[in-house]
Amino acid sequence: MSDMSVKRNGVVTDFVANHVRSIPRSGIRDFFEIVQSMTDVVSLGIGEPDFATPWHIREAAIYALEKGRTGYTSNLGLPRLRKSIARYVRQNYHVEYDALSEVLVAVGVSEAMDIALRAVINPGDEVLYHSPCYVSYSPSILLVHGKPVEIPTLAEDHFKLRAEALKAKITPKSKVLILNFPTNPTGAVMNQQELLAIAEVCQQHDLLVITDEIYSELSYGEAHCSIASLPGMRERCIFLHGFSKAFAMTGFRVGYACAPVALIEAMMRIHQYAMLCAPIISQEAAIEALENGQSDMEQMREQYQLRRNFLLNSFREIGIPCFNAQGAFYLFPRIDQTGLNSREFAVRLLEEQKVAVVPGNAFGGSGEGHVRCSYATGMDQLEVAVERIGKFVRSL
């Protein structure tokens, strides 16, 4: 019993709400603590770019500080940033949003996702999401008293979401579908044709789509397609995006939501009380990223693509099956042929060869049998990691 626990109405409790108590600790957190206690670890477990934020973007933040631009901004965000966002989304995703009423600047996509769910979910509403997926979706749904409904996707199918699998999970209580392509942790992508099939189901069953497109610039094959750009989808989509991955700005904590005005208005109501606004320094930096950051982003993408090729070819050489993931900066190789499960593989690889990868089951049950390997790390580290993984697999 912790020191914090007290007796309330004769029952021992620690004040924590039931629905919060029911949320399990992140599988990553747990693994993180083991890694943190070790030295000389080569980590492929990192979900953020290894590049520093491009210098001109950092300088824009410095300039903002120098000029004393340190106050609150409008709840929705700086109008100039919202205009840049609307233009960027129009040019790159082919969806038209009104800069001043249909764009909300948030503290990262994480906050945008949270307020989007809070804005639309009534207790008991079902929220569908494809898995393996980012670790926060299910807890975020639980925190708004929604019901998470996981739709497992398959390695054989390159972790794409299929209309049949989606339909099979739809009930009269289904309200929202969360999409995340390119996907963390699998690197999966969906092309226009494949998204059209999903869009059709959403329209038939009147689902709202929250599409988390944080990795969209990091697509290495076909051009990225947003479901919000498909016919009839703009009105039933909340488009979420940010700066963390494409512009290497994780610590700035700035992202955004684009959606029809009624939805943005509802999200704004929560955002204004919970967060007030995103930090102005980060917003100033974000303007610079959108206005002048294209070539930096392209250079980083090129680096990621070369590393992906390296890692994928190395896994093939070692004999670890892995599909050719076309997005994000993750590979999600299959490791169950080694006779180990995800966690055993990751823990033993860490203990025996000091390479950190994340057990696939941290991203949902359907990730079992896989591990997530991030290539957001320098080539020198990747070369060492591959050598050690090879040694480890051969020793099994």
């Binding site: 990553i28 943190q36 477990g45 990192i46 926060s136 070369l306 080539m379």
Partner: protein, 160 residues
């Protein structure tokens, strides 16, 4: 593809052909023969290390010299520039637009050595009209590499 290969080598000439092959989806033999070709065609001129002279305790003095020269009929600036560039003290030499013609980077062991080079050799060459020598005090960035590297390994070792 050669462009991409060159960029990778420019960044790090020590990358193994095996790694390059995997990055570029080529075979090791293909990479080796392309590099050989690029070397033979003198597209790749040399491979060198970038060194922090202070840490290496190299006693070097560097200077940049702005040189005005007289162009010659037929060859323009080329003959004279080539002659200047051939001195081993000269590490780089560029033809420039603007108020002077050549920007010459020189290196010596002592201030005196560099000064002697300028006064005895460079400025006495027929056709050299004037020189302005600037000595380097401190190096902050060398060929794209920051001398004081940023410490960026503050990233969490595992993150979602």
């Amino acid at each position: 593809m050669d462009q991409q290969l060159l960029k990778l080598l420019e960044e790090n000439a020590l990358v193994s052909p095996e790694t390059l092959a995997k990055q570029l989806n080529l075979s090791v033999d293909q990479v080796k023969s392309r590099i050989k070709h690029l070397e033979e065609a003198k597209i790749i001129l040399a491979y060198k290390a970038i060194i922090d002279d202070d840490k290496a305790e190299f006693q070097t003095v560097k200077a940049v010299i702005e040189v005005r020269i007289t162009p010659e009929r037929g060859g323009g600036f080329n003959r004279l520039s080539d002659r200047i560039a051939r001195y081993p003290e000269v590490t780089s030499c560029f033809l420039m637009s603007g108020g002077y013609d050549l920007l010459v980077f020189v290196e010596g062991r002592t201030l005196k050595e560099v000064a002697m080079f300028v006064s005895e050799k460079l400025s006495t060459i027929q056709g050299v009209l004037s020189t302005a020598t600037h000595f380097t005090l401190k190096t902050y960035k060398e060929q794209g590499v920051m001398i004081d590297q940023e410490i960026s390994e503050e990233r969490l070792k595992v993150s979602p």
